[in-house]
Amino acid sequence: MLNIGSDSLTKTIVVTSGKGGVGKTTTSASVATGLALKGFKTVVIDFDVGLRNLDLIMGCERRVVYDLVNLVNQESSLHQTLIKDKRVENLYILPASQTRDKDALTIEGIARVMHKLKKSQFDYIVCDSPAGIEKGAKMALYFADEAIITTNPEVSSVRDSDRILGILQSESKRAKMNEEPVKEHLLITRYNPGRVREGQMLSVDDIVDLLAIPLLGIIPESSSVLDSSNAGKPVILVPESEAGQAYSDAIDRLMGEDRPHRFMETRKKGLLARLFG
């Protein structure tokens, strides 16, 4: 097999949050799909061993044969384990195991998998972290070059995001090897501009202020997110959806492009809607 030493060109991005239910898997699915749409060879890995869900969001749950734990234990090859997406070229899914627990993963085992992926010329490895700050979450962030901190405008989510930032800065491989720190990005999901205007919800500025990391994007609360997970289709593939557009903008920013933040304002409601809405 041809082995070109292009290891360092692969970028590893962890999608993490500490708190559960904030949209990590939704974000992982859309970020990975967005990167593949840009032409990058991308794999998205579900690190939530025991509670896999990424396969459902990506709509490939019936095609899972082998999983991450098989790959770590060398019971299957990379080629056998990766699921190629049917809609987007260059996109692959590496599902988590449903039957094992988080102890089945080791840093050494994951390191072997990462090495194989790099040898297979992947441009991006997107790691979908499980909730919490235990082993699974720490494994997911260990190899990260960049991190997308998914945060809801809500107290417990913001607090947990701050916690996970602390862990990134002390327990990632980059921190332990004294390398350049993991690049942090804030992604605010389930944002409701109307409630922010009413003073009922933390604003973008509040959250940026509190967490003090650069803002990658704001994903508005949108019914299309539920619709697309019902259908097993990453929301970024729904161009008419505001959430999908917001994810596309975020990918552009990830590439270093300058995009103004949209969906921070509500459309003005008419008098009738205000009375009976």
Partner: protein, 136 residues
């Protein structure tokens, strides 16, 4: 939003409260995780001393270590309870190696001023995050 809330005056938003609470919380979180191992003990000792004179709770003492240039500054922020004419906050800065405080400070006696040089390197603080500071 229904017909009644349209006529009601706009309620004072809860988001402001959320932000205030988070600012305090995150400052505490950083103080706990960024500092050296003895910081929680030091904080407890300081709290005990103050408790002899004033009735305060744990969340009213904030002990935080900052790096500025080549010296580390230990910042003590103590919020005293409001009682009549007394001003509400005391902002005391003490030095981390002050030999009267802290269980592990006997090795270094040179420092008594508010800020002095301390050469102890901190554990890999890759953090470029600005720490949210909360004054009472």
């Amino acid at each position: 939003m229904g017909i009644f809330s349209f006529f009601r005056s706009k309620p004072k938003g809860s988001a402001a409260t959320a932000k205030e609470r988070l600012q305090v919380l995150i400052a505490h979180q950083h103080a706990d995780s960024d500092g050296p191992d003895y910081l929680p003990l030091l904080k407890q000792d300081i709290l005990n001393v103050i408790k002899k004179y004033v009735d305060i709770g744990e969340e009213q003492v904030l002990v935080q270590l900052d790096s500025q240039d080549d010296c580390d500054v230990l910042e003590l922020n103590i919020t005293l309870p409001e009682d009549g004419e007394r001003s509400s906050a005391v902002d005391a800065k003490a030095l981390r190696d002050n030999d009267d405080d802290g269980p592990q400070s006997s090795k270094n006696r040179q420092s008594r001023a508010e800020r002095t040089r301390s050469r102890q390197t901190r554990k890999s603080q890759a953090s470029a995050r600005s720490q949210a500071k909360q004054k009472a």
